[in-house]
Point group: C2
Chain length 342, copies 2
Amino acid sequence: MIRKVKRKVTIRDVADLVDVHHSTVSRALSPTKRDQISPAVVKKVERAAKKLGYYPNIVASSLKQNRSFAVGVLVPDLMNPVFPPIIRGIQDTAEAAGFTVITANTDDEEVKERDALRMMQGRSIDGLIIATARRNDPIVEECIENDIPFVLINRTVDRGDVNAVVIDEDFGVRSVLDHLISLKHTHIAHIAGPQHTSTGFHRAKALSDYLRIHNLPSDLVETTEKFTIEEGRRAFRKLLARNNRFTAIVAGNDLLALGCMDAMREIGLLVPENISISGYDDILFLERMSPALTTVLVPKYEMGSQATKTLLDIIRGESNGPAVLRMQPRLVIRNSTAVAYR
Amino acid sequence: MIRKVKRKVTIRDVADLVDVHHSTVSRALSPTKRDQISPAVVKKVERAAKKLGYYPNIVASSLKQNRSFAVGVLVPDLMNPVFPPIIRGIQDTAEAAGFTVITANTDDEEVKERDALRMMQGRSIDGLIIATARRNDPIVEECIENDIPFVLINRTVDRGDVNAVVIDEDFGVRSVLDHLISLKHTHIAHIAGPQHTSTGFHRAKALSDYLRIHNLPSDLVETTEKFTIEEGRRAFRKLLARNNRFTAIVAGNDLLALGCMDAMREIGLLVPENISISGYDDILFLERMSPALTTVLVPKYEMGSQATKTLLDIIRGESNGPAVLRMQPRLVIRNSTAVAYR
DNA sequence: CTGAAAGCGCTTACAG
DNA sequence: CTGAAAGCGCTTACAG
């Protein structure tokens, strides 16, 4: 059987049907140029377009206008539970504005980041949302050099002159610490995230600063290389080998916290009876775990949505120079934290 | 300060540098046409391209070739934990073949499905992976009519003549039932997923068939409208109001199971002491919940990967007609199931 | 208000 | 093996 492919209907087909020039059809169908055309013709064109089932060829339009109404998103890994809500926030906002989003996973590997960037440039994306930034990031530099509109999300870079939507880490860290201190903890350890990320770095810094203000020891820190469960587990064991006086742990994020809890379970330590622990992010299902993890809720969907709004402003030329927007996190107390047992 | 935008380097720029016609550059850079050009010229072109930082404009290429090296993915909601692994499987496989993926959320609303399809057609996607199919789906019909290459994933349609990658539901359901029956359960209830989806429908059917084979009551069924926690909770209450002789529940998926467990907790019923319960899918973190949910593991990543391979074959014209591929699920026993208490 | 023309950056059938 | 030309489906500056 021969597969007969329907020929796509173009602007010319509807022009023929209405008996006008195809440029007139283009104008009649364009929201911004519609008013250059007489209402009567606009009506006829619209009817004809509908009748023929016309829909515009975005590819052709993109080529001509050198823009694509698409934005790219760079995430480390879509399967990491922090990202789906962020991405959904991006997608919903972008879509509402008529933009398509293209997401790429980079697995925190620079080659993949670079490939993804190339691909997106090849597709003439109008802008980029970057969730993979290191504090010193050649990819970000490249975007700046190439004048690609972009917004960093969650993580930012050390150079401040960029658009970014991040968390007020000082506030986040202080709310956990206030909570732990109110529970009489005096020896509070920290499983720090990667120090080459702004989140890992700033959380660690905010924590040691605040601990010092309270005259509490601030050297119970173990640093990880990745924000993963396995790294959390590893770091906890290393920490414990070095020191066992702490009664609470602030983990750099939820996955690290889960890893710590795994390590504790393995050696028979109880949470929160022996050690209290808190996470960061508030990924899904934490409330169903045993124990339910106390954490700092990061407004993931809202960050995605906000970053997209910012990006669209830049694309439309309505941005007033780079700004970093700090969103408020919120402590969520569950039952992995309790009064210090000694 | 004036923002100077770098002019993009095109095929003509590298042609000028090498002093050949731009069509020669096009050929030299095309993997399939490269051999039409003398090796010496190819070398020179490649060097020039590299020197100028040339990368192809996929948009232009797409317009000319009327294909885009992009595939679309329709999911109900990226934030539903079943989907990230599926999508990642799709992305990895597509990317390895040089394809970009565009994902759209439809929230199981036909308008959004239709909009997403339009958008993707406008972007000349080469094919579609559909995770949103109902048993009778106008969107699927539309794809067939418009000759859009597509593969259904997870859910399929009643008409059999499509490409689909699904689960062997009979096998999955039987493995849970064998497990439950071996635990002496004789009154097994079912919280069924939406009957307009193949998954909801086939699991319910497989279950009642197998129950009958074992001469066990098969009428303890409550149907839901959506695969959500809230629906699971609602259905459990309704079921219990009608009948309280069951000692085990097979839920249509994990979210429904979690909803049931919520409802039980609310009224002080214990899992598995009072009632055993099993899910379906094996979404993340189930093993960390209390109790850890027994479930049927669906190979999500692999399904994504497999569906993409199938789609690429179709796109390349290497497919031998429609086929539905049934993948093997695997029972994962955790502690939400135990010996029947009566 | 509308038309005719040019062109976005590629690819490819046709020549040679 | 290489070049010259045409064209994919739009948009838009230029005329009128």
